[in-house]
């Protein structure tokens, strides 16, 4: 009988409840403050590479997919003013054939920002004008779409676009 009572007391003892522990490792939050310039190779900027980017390669750089999306912070001085996005990228020699004549189209929501045609392999900077009407918020989301990509070959099953390097939102000149 004593044993039963002890077991019942043990069971009803709310003190046995485990304290709740937060598990910050189980969520990955978006950056609170958006940067106007990001580096695709920098892990600290990953939160602004929203979609269409593959994992970093051993050298730290990464491939984009044929379509990708980023977000950039709009600094106070640029709010509501015309600006431009500078996109530094690399078209590798190895993909030159597949990407010959590549055109990149940038848009934000329904608004098309423009197109940029790659002159060939190498390091380039694509520039897209951004109307001030799109810069009234704390950030801007930009979708990039490539009209060509490197087809999956051999053990590589991904559809590869370009090697993005940097994205910057700067005042229009």
């Amino acid at each position: 009988m004593r044993l039963v009572m002890a077991a019942a007391l043990l069971l009803l003892n709310a003190g046995c409840r485990q304290a709740r522990h937060p598990h910050p490792e189980l969520t990955v939050e978006e950056p609170e403050a958006l940067q106007p310039a990001i580096d695709a190779a920098n892990p600290a900027d990953e939160g602004q590479l929203l979609d269409g980017f593959y994992a970093r390669e051993p050298g730290g750089w990464r491939w984009s997919a044929p379509a990708f999306t980023i977000t950039l912070g709009v600094p106070e001085p640029l709010r509501g003013k015309e600006a431009r996005i500078e996109f530094e990228l690399v078209i590798p020699e190895a993909g030159a054939a597949d990407l010959a004549g590549l055109t990149i189209t940038a848009s934000s929501g329904e608004q098309r920002l423009g197109q940029w045609r790659a002159p060939g392999p190498g390091t380039h900077t694509a520039v897209f004008a951004v109307p001030g009407a799109l810069l009234n918020e704390e950030g801007i989301l930009v979708d990039f779409a490539l009209d060509r990509f490197i087809l999956p070959r051999g053990s590589e099953v991904r559809r590869l676009g370009v090697i993005p390097s940097k994205f910057r939102l700067v005042a229009a000149q």
Binding site: P22, H23, T27, E30, E110
Partner: protein, 618 residues
């Protein structure tokens, strides 16, 4: 009859060894599926009435399993919260008692220590016990097995000693069994079958018990609603024979897919056929020899399975948990009979039993491990959601990337334990759709109007489930909301807010703290209901006028009269409920409010009707 002594405790060691080998992972699995629904019982029980409801209100296909589900979860959750280990300890302790009882009964009825050691081990290895050992919601099988075995042990004592206390104890276990799982209703038939086999007569007290079982079955049929379609629909026809055969096949050969077969060239059905033929041959021989326990094993399997045979479309491995005790007796008595009768006879008994152990055991282990994995993923998602809510209190949390497996294991029921609304992106409904008969899942899915309204009001947080973590993607999610959703009206309007103005038609005055006055006729646009059966709630207020006459409010939906109310004469807010028509294809609906008498406010020249503070449907 042979009596068990303490020195015979080793007889359960083989079964405990099997348990450890097969259920090592299963016994550590975290909560999943229906576990969350039972865990949430305590949260809703704030008064004595609530507690009674939590204990006795039919749930989950109209069942009332007070001991094995309600009390089990209520008490342990109250004491230990979301710690799964005490729950599993109770399961383990109950099953250990079951194994001891089975060994005790087998030794008494067979007189063989070999059979008494083999029966619990064979039962433990069966595929039927995999889910009950790993899934806490299936504890009902383990507890009911205990009640049946304990009641049967009491029957044996009563038959031997004639003492009425054993009869009374048998009743107690029978009643607890009925409150644990409806299958316990077969106990009087099991007890009667043994009495008839052993004595060719059924004692009168057992007929009373049979009467009680019949009354329970009749009450269950009459008062508990049954599903007429879906997987839980009952089919009282010849399909029951096929279902019976399916269960034999499952019990003997397990349910593994070809890549998992322990012997790659030996299909599980072949193992079931070999086991079935061997069992049939032994049963014929046992009948002729008067080996009652073997024949009783067949009766036990058949009678304990009988209640689920009408569930043609819901053949489940864990329904074998209790019937498999019968298989264990058939196998154990076969080994006992073959022992010492030459190598050939022994091989004839040993090979089918070994094949059964190999295949059913492998299936058991595979199932237990699968449950463990489900628990791991379910725990990660649940804790991640807790964290998300901690970070974003009061916001609507929308999830993407949750597949059907995780949805059912760790999301659909766990939402009930979370303090705020978390739902799945409506475009992912197809990935998680339930088979017919599994009920309505719409509560777990966000509606487009609530999603877009939350986005508009900046109280939406979107997460994507990627590799066991929730990745916040609110900016991208809002950016990519479908264009056609952007102009959807909301399903809920706060009339005191400026946001509401966009959806108001004629007949509204300026927003004021606490709501907005209508004139005698006012119009508002809301999202059309997403399915039939939705209710519109109008929270409003109209001060009582001295000697005022009755005031009526008519509500029209899309031009059709929906309801007419006599407004309550009270100086306090009231909520009116209107049943909405089924969706007609339009994304929005127009709601008209018409008041038959104006309110005269001193010094206010406006035409006033009522003050509406909130309108929403759900």
């Amino acid at each position: 009859m042979k009596r068990l002594r303490w020195r015979d405790a080793w007889l359960v060691l083989p079964a405990l060894f099997v348990l450890v080998c097969l259920d090592w992972h299963g016994l550590r699995s975290w909560f999943h599926q229906d576990d969350f629904a039972w865990l949430s019982l305590g949260a809703g029980a704030r008064s004595f009435e609530d507690l009674l409801g939590a204990l006795f209100r039919p749930a989950a296909q109209g069942t009332v399993r007070v001991f094995s589900e309600r009390l089990f979860f209520l008490l342990l959750e109250r004491a230990f919260g979301m710690d799964h280990r005490p729950f599993h300890l109770v399961v383990l302790a109950t099953q250990a008692a079951n194994l001891a009882l089975l060994g005790w009964i087998t030794l008494r009825l067979s007189g063989s220590r070999l059979a008494a050691a083999a029966a619990p081990a064979v039962w433990m290895a069966g595929v039927g016990l995999a889910a009950p050992m790993a899934w806490l919601s299936a504890y009902n099988q383990v507890l009911t097995a205990f009640c049946l075995l304990a009641a049967f042990a009491c029957l044996l004592e009563w038959l031997e000693t004639g003492r009425r206390r054993w009869l009374a104890a048998q009743w107690v276990f029978f009643v607890i069994g009925l409150g644990s799982l409806e299958v316990a209703v077969v106990y009087p038939a099991l007890a009667g079958a043994w009495c008839w086999l052993a004595r060719r007569s059924v004692p009168r007290p057992l007929w009373w018990m049979l009467g009680a079982a019949a009354a329970f079955a009749a009450a269950h049929m009459a008062f508990i609603p049954k599903q007429s379609e879906g997987v839980y629909a009952r089919h009282w026809d010849l399909s029951m024979l096929r279902t019976y055969g399916q269960y034999w096949s499952l019990a003997l050969g397990g349910n593994l897919d070809p890549p998992q077969w322990p012997v790659s060239w030996l299909p599980r059905r072949a193992v079931a056929v070999i086991g079935g033929l061997a069992a049939a041959a032994w049963l014929v021989l046992a009948w002729r020899r008067g080996a009652k326990l073997a024949v009783f094993g067949f009766a036990w399997f058949t009678l304990a399975l009988a209640p689920v045979l009408p569930l043609r479309d819901h053949v489940s491995d864990y329904y074998l948990a209790i019937p498999s005790i019968g298989v264990a007796w058939i196998a154990a008595t076969a080994l006992q009979a073959a022992w010492g009768r030459g190598a050939l006879t022994l091989a004839a008994a040993l090979i089918p039993v070994a094949l059964h152990l190999l295949y059913a055991g492998a299936a058991h282990r595979s199932m237990a491990d699968w449950r463990y994995e489900r628990g791991v993923n379910s725990k990660r998602l649940y804790l991640a959601l807790e964290r998300a809510i901690e970070l974003h209190p009061g916001k609507l949390i929308v999830l993407t990337g949750v597949d059907g497996e995780l949805f059912w294991a760790g999301f659909f029921d766990s939402r009930q334990l979370l303090p705020q609304r978390v739902c799945l992106d409506p475009r992912e409904t197809a990935a998680v759709s339930a088979p017919a008969g599994f009920g309505d899942i719409s509560g777990a899915i966000c509606t487009p109007p609530e999603t877009v309204a939350a986005a508009r009001e900046r109280r939406l947080v979107a997460y994507r489930w990627i590799s066991g973590r929730l990745h916040a993607q609110t900016r991208l999610y809002v950016h990519r909301l479908p264009e056609e959703w952007r102009d959807l009206p909301p399903a809920e309007i706060d009339l005191a807010g400026q946001e509401a103005a966009r959806w108001l038609g004629s007949g509204w005055h300026q927003a004021e703290p606490g709501g907005r006055w209508t004139s005698l006729h006012a119009e508002v646009t809301l999202a059309a209901p997403d399915r039939a059966g939705r209710l519109l709630f109008i929270t409003a207020y109209r001060p009582v006028e001295p000697q005022g006459e009755a005031v009526h409010l008519s509500v029209r939906v899309d031009g059709k009269q929906a309801r007419r109310f006599l407004l309550p004469r009270q100086n306090a807010a009231f909520t009116l409920t209107v049943a909405l028509p089924a969706p007609g294809g339009s994304p929005s609906m127009r709601v008209e409010l018409a008041i038959d008498r104006p309110f005269q406010a001193p010094g206010d020249a406006r035409q006033l009707g009522i003050v509406v503070s909130r309108m929403h449907w759900q």
